[in-house]
């Protein structure tokens, strides 16, 4: 018991430190790097959201870019109607979550690769719809009123990301909900037969994993000031969520964070140093392939403490772990 | 040249956990030898190691005079060993007939294959009825029949059977053991893992009792069948 308390205290100290560092970052680095860090944050959130679905529930979505893009468009449209940004971004999150719930109902009946491709197909369909709809600007894209305040966007991203990570951590590692989700990943039929409302759980997870990308899309839109189907609805957005998570470590909290930092930062660093030619792409590609080849459990496996799958401690009071989780 | 199977000091590990701790045994040509032991004793692990499905950690395995412990499973199979794995390993997306044909993959004697196919169908008429059904949609017991049938199709000189009677109706359990006897009469060798130790010892020549990765006892089948501890632990007291 002693030990547990200590380690919790230690964790708290770590978290406190991280929060302080995160808060002061904007004052410590140049605006260029602040931009990059803001981008990193965004990708952490996207990868983490994807991980909620794929890592814990085992449903690999290739359509998550669509939620990001929808979020961006909903925000842009709402703001063009005069709605305040914060409200617009929240509307975007709720909209994408609701949309995911609707599309999830039929789609989540599919398994494995079929689910993956179906999500990809609807994401493409959405991109095409946005291209032809009258109020999305089509191929001309949409412009948002610029508010060029790096710090603001940094903190918005940070806030959302903390929210994503915290919710993912709480739901998937602490609450019983996470166990149910993992049970579905392991054996859907058995989970259903033993009383879990599999359909409802799957839809909730899908909606949750779409909620944050929706908000992030909204922040992105306002941050970059210009959105276009090719920039916010491109398939490569989903691809990157996948690769970042795999790179970092699937089904862990730290994995997507590490993956996003490494891939996005790495990409940008290579881009800064070798970006005057396309050579940096060779390095990016090579790096991804090599990590997957030699570190199949992702980069988290380099840090054993982080890579550890969430296996509860063996103690003589199995009940104690239960009480602290459910609230 | 030594024939049959000769295993010396076999150690097998899954990751860091050693499941079999230095086991030696042999099966002579034309014998039925049975391995009995509780859940998790390491019986299946030994069979997997012998057929080359999993790598071994230490020791040697010799089959018909060839050292096979470093050979991949398809090479071992080509030497004439057929393994009915635990969990049956049915090709679920292939028809029953194709499953059986895969069994005969390494054979080229059309005539012999045909004869064996007829033999299998005679043994398990259900398979003949369902020859076009996909393996995966068979009932559990039907799959077990298919797994055994498929092994018979290999024409191998030695069979490793991992719980062939599991999930089979009592009548079929009998048939399976009868088949074992038939096969042995054809001069083939059988290494049999069975939970139904009474039945196994009833048809076997010799047996080994495995306890948590070690051989605890071995001897003639009758000796084991009448051994009080074996009887208590694995036969469930008196034989029904």
């Amino acid at each position: 018991m002693e030990y547990v308390d200590n380690s919790q205290k230690r964790n708290l100290i770590w978290i406190a430190l991280l929060v302080i560092v995160a808060t002061v970052i904007p004052f410590a680095i140049s605006s260029f790097w602040l931009r990059i860090v803001t981008g990193v944050l965004m990708w952490i959130g996207l990868a983490q959201s994807w991980n909620i679905l794929a890592g814990y529930m085992g449903y690999v979505s290739f359509g998550h870019g669509a939620f990001f893009g929808l979020g961006a468009y909903v925000t842009a449209i709402a703001m063009s109607l005069g709605v305040h940004f914060i409200i617009s971004a929240l509307i975007a999150g709720v909209f994408t979550a609701a949309f995911a719930a609707i599309i999830g109902y039929p789609t989540l009946r599919l398994q494995g690769a079929y689910f993956a491709i179906a999500t990809w197909a609807f994401a493409e369909a959405i991109r095409q719809i946005v291209l032809v709809l009258p109020f999305t600007g089509g191929a001309y894209g949409m412009r948002l009123p610029p508010m060029l305040n790096e710090n603001f966007f940094y903190y918005m991203m940070l806030l959302t990301i903390i929210g994503t990570v915290a919710i993912a951590y709480y739901l998937m590692h602490k609450a019983k909900f996470g166990l149910k989700v993992k049970a579905i990943r392991e054996e859907e039929i058995a989970a259903n037969v033993l009383g879990l409302d599999v359909t409802r759980i799957k839809i909730s997870v899908f909606a949750l994993s779409a909620f944050f990308p929706g908000i992030l899309g909204g922040i992105y839109a306002y941050w970059i000031t210009y959105i276009h189907p090719d920039s916010v609805l491109a398939p490569v957005i989903a691809d990157q969520m996948v690769v970042m998570t795999m790179l970092g470590g699937l089904g862990t909290i730290a994995g997507p964070i590490i993956g996003a930092v490494v891939l996005f930062m790495g990409n940008r660093l290579l881009w800064v140093f070798w970006g005057d030619t396309s050579f940096y792409l060779v390095l990016v590609g090579l790096a991804v392939a090599l990590v997957i080849l030699f570190l199949p459990s992702g980069l988290v496996s380099l840090v054993p403490r982080l890579g550890k799958k969430d296996k509860p401690k063996v103690d003589d009071q199995p009940n104690s772990s239960v009480t602290e989780h459910t609230k | 040249m030594a024939t049959g199977l000769n295993v010396k000091n076999l150690k097998v590990a899954y990751g860091n956990i050693e499941a079999v701790h230095g086991v030696s045994f042999d099966v002579k040509e034309g014998e039925i030898v049975t391995l009995i032991g509780a859940n998790g004793a390491g019986k299946s692990t030994i069979l997997r190691a012998v057929s080359g499905m999993i790598p071994i950690k230490e020791g040697s395995i010799e089959f018909d005079g060839t050292l096979t412990d470093r050979l991949p499973s398809h090479k071992v199979t080509q030497l004439g060993m057929a393994h009915v794995p635990e969990g049956r390993g049915i090709f679920t997306r292939m028809s029953v007939l194709d499953n059986l044909k895969v069994g005969a993959y390494q054979r080229n004697d059309k005539q012999g294959i045909q004869t064996d196919l007829e033999m299998v169908f005679e043994l398990f008429p259900r398979l003949a009825e369902r020859s076009q059904q996909l393996g995966g949609t068979l009932s559990g017991g039907e799959q077990q029949m298919l797994a055994v049938g498929r092994a018979l199709m290999t024409g191998a000189s030695m069979l490793l059977l991992d719980e062939p009677s599991m999930g089979l109706a009592p009548v079929l359990v009998e048939s399976i053991f009868e088949v074992c006897i038939d096969i042995r009469e054809q001069g083939k060798t059988i290494l049999l893992v069975e939970q139904n130790a009474a039945m196994a010892l009833a048809i076997a020549d010799r047996g080994y009792v495995l306890e948590t990765g070690n051989i605890a006892l071995s001897g003639q089948a009758d000796y084991l069948a009448n051994h009080p501890e074996v009887s208590k632990a694995y036969l469930g007291g008196d034989i029904a």
């Binding site: 140049s30 605006s31 260029f32 602040l34 931009r35 990059i36 981008g39 095409q128 291209l131 032809v132 089509g138 191929a139 001309y140 894209g141 412009r143 610029p146 060029l148 305040n149 790096e150 710090n151 992105y220 970059i224 000031t225 210009y226 959105i227 276009h228 090719d230 920039s231 940008r268 881009w271 800064v272 970006g275 005057d276 030619t277 396309s278 940096y280 792409l281 | -």
Partner: protein, 403 residues
């Protein structure tokens, strides 16, 4: 807001004896082709200027140093690139991206830091309607340039086209091109028998098949080089030959001609510049000399995008000379530079460059005359408007078999 560094940085930095010039363009991604074309133009300018000792300001010469960043055809990456150029690399001014999308993504950041950018491409009219103070463009928007070739085909050829089919790809530039073609055609009384905007990556055979059935006099296409090549290939493979093909950007690229061979012959296009024009120029001497230099450097005939990009540098040089600012430029000097750019009119090998100060083409170059060109014997010939043409338009054009 913004980090202090840029402010102190500027003042703190010691005098430089060269200008730092940022180049943001697509070196990878969807628009890699055009991105590299613009880069060729920018590079040739820098090399030429430096070979001549640099930009002359007062009695001193200042060389230029180019700093590149790949926008990867993505607005967000472009925005990162600009931020880096401005705050870390502290460039004095910028050459802009190839695509309109990236331009729209980076323009607001330039407003924030007050750094001017001239783009040698980005022809979507959308940009100029936003009225960005620090963003300029040296190629006239496509809604302006699309008019000339249509009017040539209607009014300046024998028989005159009566019907037209217009297709375009659904990206900003291509769609604007198609719209311009259509609008001009309708205005000139042409019957538009088909108008369709297709998503990128479609197979053109079915559409071309349908158009063949309608048999219009002209098939006009809004797209980039790849689109144009595919449309021509599709038409040829279906044995369809209208009286004229009308395309816009892309047919002037060397790849279009190299890859299609005789099939590229007689295609009409809109342009604001061809190598046939005879302008004089301070840096290179004349259009002809520029073309020779570009050909020697890159092994290909320059097209109008490459030329516009090369000429862009000359505008900066002229404006800098006019205000007499030396590197590094302070914020004040950059403001002056923008003022100068707004008012200056520079004669280059590319033609006069004169940025509008108001209206829908705000800060876009309105100094040029839109031209109708036609590929004849592998060269772009100006065939209209009549007062500037160097060759007669060939119409109707010979069939596939007669080449």
């Amino acid at each position: 807001g913004g980090p202090k560094q840029s402010d102190d940085g500027k003042n703190a930095e010691a005098e430089r004896d060269y200008f730092k010039v940022g180049v943001i363009t697509s070196l990878s991604g969807a628009s890699v082709y055009g991105g590299n074309v613009t880069r060729r133009g920018y590079d040739l300018w820098a090399e030429t200027v430096n070979a001549q000792g640099g930009i002359e300001i007062g009695d001193k010469q200042y060389k230029v140093e180019m700093v590149y960043a790949d926008a990867a055809s993505d607005p967000a990456t472009g925005a990162d690139a600009v931020e880096r150029m401005v705050t870390t690399d502290e460039v004095d001014f910028l050459f802009g991206p190839y695509t309109s999308g990236v331009t729209l993504g980076v323009a607001p950041i330039l407003e924030k830091y007050k750094v001017p950018m001239i783009t040698g491409s980005a022809e979507s009219p959308l940009i100029w309607k936003q009225k960005f103070k620090y963003t300029f463009g040296s190629i006239p928007a496509v809604d302006l340039t699309g008019s000339a070739p249509v009017s040539t085909l209607v009014n300046e050829v024998e028989g005159g086209a009566k019907t037209i089919a217009v297709i375009g790809v659904n990206d900003a530039f291509s769609k604007a091109t198609a719209e311009a073609f259509k609008a001009n055609a309708e205005q000139l009384g042409l019957e538009v028998v088909k108008y369709d905007i297709v998503p990128e990556g479609t197979d053109f055979t079915p559409l071309v098949g349908a158009i063949k059935e309608l048999n219009p006099d002209v098939l006009a296409v809004g797209g980039h080089e790849q689109t144009h090549m595919e449309v021509i290939k599709a038409a040829k493979s279906l044995g369809f030959m209208p009286k004229a093909f009308l395309m816009h950007y892309g047919i002037t690229t060397p790849d279009f001609i190299n890859n299609l061979g005789t099939a590229s012959e007689y295609v009409f296009g809109g342009a604001v510049w061809t190598s046939d024009l005879e302008y004089s120029d301070e840096l290179w001497g004349s259009t002809k000399e520029y073309v020779e230099a570009a050909e020697a450097r890159w092994g290909n005939m320059p097209d109008y995008t490459e030329a516009a990009s090369a000429a862009t540098g000359e505008v900066y040089a002229a404006a800098l000379a006019e205000i007499g600012a030396v590197p590094p430029l302070s914020e004040e000097e950059r403001e002056q530079l923008v003022d100068a750019l707004e008012n200056i009119k520079v004669d280059t090998f590319y033609g006069p460059i004169d940025f509008a100060n108001e209206g829908d083409w705000y800060h876009n170059n309105v100094g040029l005359q839109p031209l109708t060109i036609q590929l004849q014997n592998g060269e772009q010939k100006i065939v209209g408007p009549s007062d500037v043409k160097v060759a007669d338009p060939i119409y109707p054009v010979p069939g596939w078999e007669e080449r």
